[in-house]
């Protein structure tokens, strides 16, 4: 007698036990600690914090450990955790002008107040495998200097002084909150930026790259890229003033984009903006390019029909947690739908065959 497959629950438990064992790997090799991941896999930790939308390096490191290094899975763990946290309120906007910069470069000016600071970058490293690292990871101490004391103003402010770059009007409008309101289109720039900031790095990179290759090209220069820590302040109602509650590391990219002017706007430079948790350089530059591409309408540019100009397309497909969930759900049982398709195709084929036979018979008769 046929017995339907039962025991799904035990199969699931066993699968998870095996997964835990696989995650640990060979037990004769020392286990990774959260601190090791946090300190030595810090760019992975940064990506998980950025796309998980939660600034907590220890939790991100834990998520990476738990997910066997699958960063999208780690981001998912962080998102699912984050959604359960109570909201105490909103911080004051962070002042990236007051950032303690570890890195600050401009591709538009050879020098500017605050200087060019390369910081800890892969740029100009030769990508040669360092076999010494396989033996021992000891490094010589890097040379140090006194931190700069002078201000590090935003480089685009100098263009603003000349009135040659678009002015970003200061608004007191409360920005929307992507995680508390369902998104609707047009989303507006604030929500757009929120969405891009937590969007999948690979997707945003691909979109940005497509603009560089000519699908709505917007001639971007990196006006400034800065990485460093900024204080986060929050107004406490009981106190009536803002106090510092911590600091976060951010990467900010401002692009300067060529612009001829349009029916509504005189010739001037325009801006694209990227802001991402942690040291996330690639992501913040890509974000700035996509932001700029999405601004075609407000700047009175033509819709060239490029994917990167299409707000609904970009925002609806940039979230890797949504994308991976829906993509992978096709692993789930679909017996019922498939059965109905099976019957439909059989019926259509039967009808087509009957029709063909009918035609053949008629032709033979003629």
């Amino acid at each position: 007698m046929y017995v339907a497959v039962k025991g799904g629950e035990r199969a699931i438990d066993n699968a998870h036990a095996w997964l835990a064992e696989e995650r640990r790997g060979d037990t004769s090799v020392a286990e990774l600690s959260i601190a090791q991941i946090r300190e030595q896999m810090s760019l992975a930790v940064n990506r998980v914090m950025a796309e998980g939308s939660l600034y907590d390096p220890d939790l991100a490191a834990l998520a990476i450990k738990q997910s066997r290094g699958d960063l999208i899975e780690a981001i998912f763990l962080i998102r699912a955790y984050r959604t359960t946290l109570p909201r105490f309120g909103y911080s004051e906007p962070v002042d990236t002008g007051a950032m303690a910069c570890d890195r600050r470069i401009s591709a538009t000016f050879k020098d500017a107040p605050g200087g060019q600071v390369l910081g800890p970058t892969f740029d100009y490293t030769h990508r040669l495998l360092d076999f010494k690292l396989a033996a021992d990871g000891e490094v010589a101490e890097a040379p140090t200097a006194e931190p700069r004391t002078e201000e590090t103003p935003h480089i685009l402010e100098f263009l603003q002084g000349e009135n040659i770059i678009e002015q970003e009007p200061e608004l007191d409008d409360e920005p929307g909150d992507l995680t508390r309101e369902p998104i609707s289109f047009p989303a507006g720039r604030a929500v757009r930026l929120q969405s891009l900031s937590r969007g999948d790095e690979g997707f945003i990179l691909g979109m940005a790259y497509s603009t560089q290759r000519g699908y709505a090209r917007n001639h971007a220069f990196v006006g400034e890229l800065r990485i460093g820590k900024v204080p986060v302040e929050m107004e406490i109602p009981e106190l009536g003033f803002a106090i510092e509650i911590g600091e976060v590391e951010l990467t900010e990219c401002e692009t300067v984009n060529q612009f001829k002017g349009s029916k509504t706007v005189p010739p001037q430079f325009t801006r694209g903006y990227g802001l991402v948790f942690g040291q996330s350089e690639r992501k913040s530059i890509a974000m700035a390019l996509v932001d700029r591409a999405l601004r075609w309408e407000e700047l009175g540019e033509d819709n060239l029909g490029a994917a990167a100009q299409d707000e609904e397309f970009v925002l609806s497909h940039s979230d890797n947690i949504q994308a991976t969930g829906f993509l992978e759900h096709i692993k789930l049982p679909h017996y019922v739908d498939f059965q109905s398709e099976l019957e439909l195709v059989r019926k259509l084929r039967r009808e087509a065959q009957e029709l063909a036979e009918d035609m053949a018979a008629r032709e033979a008769a003629e």
Binding site: Y2, G8, F326, V336, D337, S340, E341, L348, A352
Partner: protein, 288 residues
């Protein structure tokens, strides 16, 4: 899991979801946007249904979870376990005993009653999506009741294939107003959409909730000369001999032998308990 609130979601979130459900019930078939939360299971795996169930459940409820009509499919097991852990509600596999039933891809065979709520997991809530991918356009089309595109699609199916080539997620019109996607249930289930129970549809990733109040008029789209037919495999169940249930086709051996069994496992079980025996079934209790 005891650190989490009853049924996992916090009360504010549940309140927000309940408001969307009430709005959905007030405008049958209309897709209500809601601020869907990230759940601890992936989007596309029932997060919409889970959020609707979480907002609907009370501690006195008895929950049943089915996927493809069965209580023991892996994702149904996983979701049932989630609510056992986070809500501590009683669960059952018996359709008649459940007060809330979360389902994916099926409507139970046994008629539901006025004290029951059926919660559907919905992947793509927009029936017009594959005719027009833009949400900005489809919302307009719904607002203007502009459903010509859908009828043209059905007509083209007939002219091309001789039949409407949609066998599941077959579109319906609700109370002569909104065209609605009944979720990917086989069209065999469509006539059951007019029922005594409340039906709630949750699409988590797409951030939409919609609903059918009890006894709402639900009509599967068709043409006068091409009436809608709720089809199923032309066999009785090989285990319980039911002629009226939706069947899964199971491949038995390398020779390609098949059998057909009820997709609704509880329906099949209860019929066998009543003594019905199919072609390959055995008298209940006769075999070890």
């Amino acid at each position: 899991m005891s650190d989490y609130n009853f049924a996992y979601l916090d009360e504010q979130t549940k309140r927000m979801i309940r408001r969307a459900i009430l709005k959905g019930l007030a405008i049958p078939g209309y897709q209500v946007p809601f601020a869907s939360r990230e759940m601890p299971m992936p989007y596309g795996w029932g997060t919409g249904g889970v959020q609707v169930s979480a907002a609907t459940l009370t501690p006195d409820d008895t929950l049943k979870v089915i996927d493809q009509g069965a209580d023991d499919t892996t994702n149904a097991v996983s979701i049932r376990k989630f609510f056992e852990r986070t809500a501590g509600v009683e669960t059952t596999e018996v359709t008649a005993k459940a007060s809330v039933i979360q389902t994916r891809h099926r409507i139970p065979e046994a008629a539901l009653n006025e004290d029951q709520i059926l919660v559907y997991q919905v992947p793509i809530p927009e029936p017009l999506r594959f005719l027009e991918p833009r949400e900005t356009e489809t919302r307009k089309m719904h607002a203007l009741e502009e459903y010509g595109l859908m009828h043209v699609k059905l007509y083209e199916d007939i002219s091309q294939h001789g039949d409407i080539a949609t066998s599941y997620a077959y579109p319906v019109k609700v109370e002569d107003r909104y065209v609605m996607d009944p979720s990917p249930i086989p069209k065999f289930d469509n006539p059951k959409l007019e029922m005594a129970a409340i039906q709630l549809f949750g699409a988590g990733r797409e951030q939409r909730i919609y609903a059918l109040p009890p006894y709402t008029k639900v009509v599967s789209l068709d043409f006068e000369d091409f009436p809608f037919v709720a089809s199923k495999a032309d066999h009785p169940c090989d285990l319980c001999a039911a002629e009226d249930s939706y069947l899964d086709e199971v491949i038995l051996d390398d020779a390609g032998n098949r059998m057909f069994v009820c997709s609704d496992t509880d329906y099949c079980r209860s019929r066998r308990a009543e003594g019905h025996v199919g072609r390959l079934g055995e008298q209940e209790g006769a075999a070890a």
